[in-house]
Symmetry: C3
Subunit: 343 residues, 3 copies
């Protein structure tokens, strides 16, 4: 369930309401009356009997088979794999239907949060010896620890939690975020906006509500211009002591371990997991859903499209172990030289 | 002609004034008295008899031959191609001269726009049920549709138009822009600043006034930290339903069609045209003046230096059809492996 | 010595205090009483007899041999190379010790600067005919020349100097910076934040105070979203007439000459030096500590890992002379084609 600190659930909805708002069709002969009130949305492996899920990719058929979801958007061809008793909402586009249903459960999740009229909301709790610069905005129920410095133009949207001794630079904005102690956030860092999540379609892309948070550990540093999207359901996590340079992009559900170093202009796509003590050179890009082991090193400008084992160095695009990358570089140079000599 | 909503034309200027401010020399024996008042600047193919143009690249000699421009900056060697009756302003540096003349016609186009003293200018029109957060600035003659949300720190410079149900995140700035309905602009998005246009010179680069706009269709979403420069004369256009991720750069005169997807940290150089339903992966870069067909797909980190036909997938840098790219990757890996085995 | 306009030196410290705060051990038999008060930190080649330095890399042993530093953090194995009379502070981690000592000398250097309560500090000097937009903040002892335009949300931290006829776009922030005349800084440009400087460690990275400035020459233009870090001790320098596009990252101690062109999303790593009239294409990345000669040209998306001689064009990643790069591209394409034909 989405953290009620940040998200308001507008449910429950009856199965009939869900049918209507999604356009899916309730399959015959499955489900029963007692289950037809749905309280929330959830992925197959986490959903309970009163929650609504979806199957969009045949990779997850096993998850479907053991899922406890009360209801599920599904294509006709997968209906046979569903456990008995699950309400099945049949459609050609399960993910689009899910997106519409999730918008109904969390109608405000895709909207810009609104601030209180006063610069510091009455319900905000601010620790001792904080400097709150003029021009900043502190939203409802924000909590700020002792000895913090909140720069001018900083916006802390409702519910954000900031630990002690943390400094947030001018014009940074945070929503849906829990931040640790001794964190340094530089200027114009944007944390907690929606991840880039859409149910794609040729005639329009449907926004999928992003229901996770951003969790930032102690002693993290984040450079100017960096963007960290909140999770789509799981959280986006930056581990203790990790240092992130300027203009870095961190997608939804990314998980970075402790004491890692992320150099400027790196981009990390959604749901990629990075271990402890990883070093990522400038302008490297990582595809989504990868696992980068502890202590791995990724050369600047690498294009990482595969998992990287613990302690191994990778380089190039597509990235390969660094020794192979150097061999490739030398081989191609020799080939080109030979070609030059032949001309 | 530049949109008077955003640009003030300080002309007309006499041909003598143009000679003086540009340093070009009026060619003998061409032109006549009736034409010597110039009302505006324009490219060769659009200029009328009272407008000033330039020829800087021999590629455009055909355009010169049929141009109706009243006057033209031109190199001596190209004078022979000019139509009779056109006033010819001869110079070694036609583009630099044009830049100086355009600065004279539009002296404020290269300056930061100035806001009214009050947060919301008296001449601004704001629709029903809008939330205008404290700390935002709404300039002269701005028009905002119904149900919009304007975040704190948002700056809408004079003349900007925002459709209905549109949300603009904290610290975003818009100038010279016409925005549609149901648009979501995230935080610190900067739209409408000058494109990167200079008449280059070894001893200094002369700024070329950027006289176009940014046109953003309905249902567009634009991620945090993204920059979209206004057109140089033509407009920069983002089509309906296109979704743009964080930290993307879109240069002047770029034209993006409908329902395209542009992932984080992509860079699109000036005057490139992108069709409908195009997918561009993260950190890809596109050179200027390209045509990317409808439904094309560009892999993450690609360096696109050529046009891409409709429906085709490209990858690599320089980007090639994706099948060729994979073959290249495999070939180079095999070559390097062989080399490794020989060692 | 760090510029007192921007940095407050909290020293001097006795050698005993330095031993205590750093955890290093004073070597026997070296040094004498008269030198045991340390007034500042400095690199080996600049330190005087009352200053504290460090040796962290055996590349600098020659610099150690001729250094006049009064005291030096050093590994036991390098003690033999130190000049007589230098106080030696022995440790396994000289750079971490130095970082801690530098933090003691400059305790506020790693903190966000704090603004005055009023939007314009009483001690600021503002020239004639300036437009200072509402919502901007001008810190203590800031100096602004005549005819400047300071946009809304601009933050000029204490001591910043701005020349005449300079324009600073909305939400840009400057600290530790001296800016020339006729400069155009677009929106949300962040200048002068800490460079990315850490003494790395498996159990935590120690922040190294960044004690330099950013020096920006006349006629420079800087695009929206660009970040320029201040120097670590030396300055970061942008030469006269250089034009920088949007979303560019410039690391600490980078030195760019005159009339260079840096296109969007380029990243320049720390301590790299770029000559006059250099052109760097979009998304190119440059490693640290390189020298790029005058008039060099770097193709878009290049990954530059070596010095580039004057006037030479480079491309590719790793970047090579552009002719070689084209040969490589052609060779690889032919190899892949052959492979395709064999299949």
């Amino acid at each position: 369930m989405a953290d009620p600190r940040f998200f308001n659930n507008a449910g429950p909805f009856s199965i009939e309401q869900v049918v209507k708002l999604s356009g899916a069709k309730l399959a015959d002969g499955k489900g029963h009356a007692g289950k037809n009130i749905l309280h929330d949305v959830a992925p197959l492996n986490k959903a309970t009997g009163s929650e609504l899920s979806f199957l969009d990719n045949s990779k997850y058929i096993e998850a479907l088979k053991t899922s406890k979801a009360g209801a599920c958007f599904i294509e006709q061809k997968h209906v046979k794999h569903a456990p008995g008793g699950m309400l099945l909402l049949v459609t050609h586009q399960p993910y689009s239907c899910f997106a519409r249903a999730a918008q109904a459960f969390y109608p405000s999740a895709s909207h810009s949060p609104t601030l209180a009229k006063s610069p510091v909301a009455a319900s905000a709790k601010i620790g001792k010896d904080c400097i709150i610069e003029s021009g900043s905005f502190i939203g409802e129920k924000v909590e700020i620890g002792d000895n913090c410095h909140i720069g001018t133009g900083v916006v802390l949207y409702a519910g954000v939690v900031i630990g002690a001794n943390t400094s947030i630079g001018a014009h940074s904005t945070l929503s849906h975020a829990i931040v640790g102690d001794n964190v340094i956030i530089h200027r114009s860092v944007h944390i907690g906006q929606d991840g880039f999540g859409f149910a794609l379609g040729a005639n329009g892309h449907i926004k999928v509500p992003q229901l996770g948070r951003v969790m930032i550990g102690n002693d993290v540093e984040i450079g100017s211009g960096t963007c960290i999207d909140r999770g789509s359901g799981p959280d986006t996590v930056i581990g203790e002591g990790t240092k992130i340079d300027n203009l870095v992009q961190i997608g939804h559900n990314v998980h970075i371990g402790k004491y890692s170093i992320i150099v400027s202009q790196v981009g990390i796509s959604g749901s990629t997991s990075i271990g402890d003590g990883v070093m990522i050179g400038g302008q490297a890009g990582l595809a989504g859903h990868l696992k980068i082991g502890n202590g791995a090193r990724i050369a600047a400008k690498s294009g990482v499209m595969t998992d990287i084992p613990e302690g191994v160095s990778y380089g190039g695009s597509p990235a390969v172990p660094v020794r192979d990358w150097h061999r490739q570089t030398v081989s191609v140079a020799q080939l080109a030289k030979k070609k030059g000599a032949e001309q």
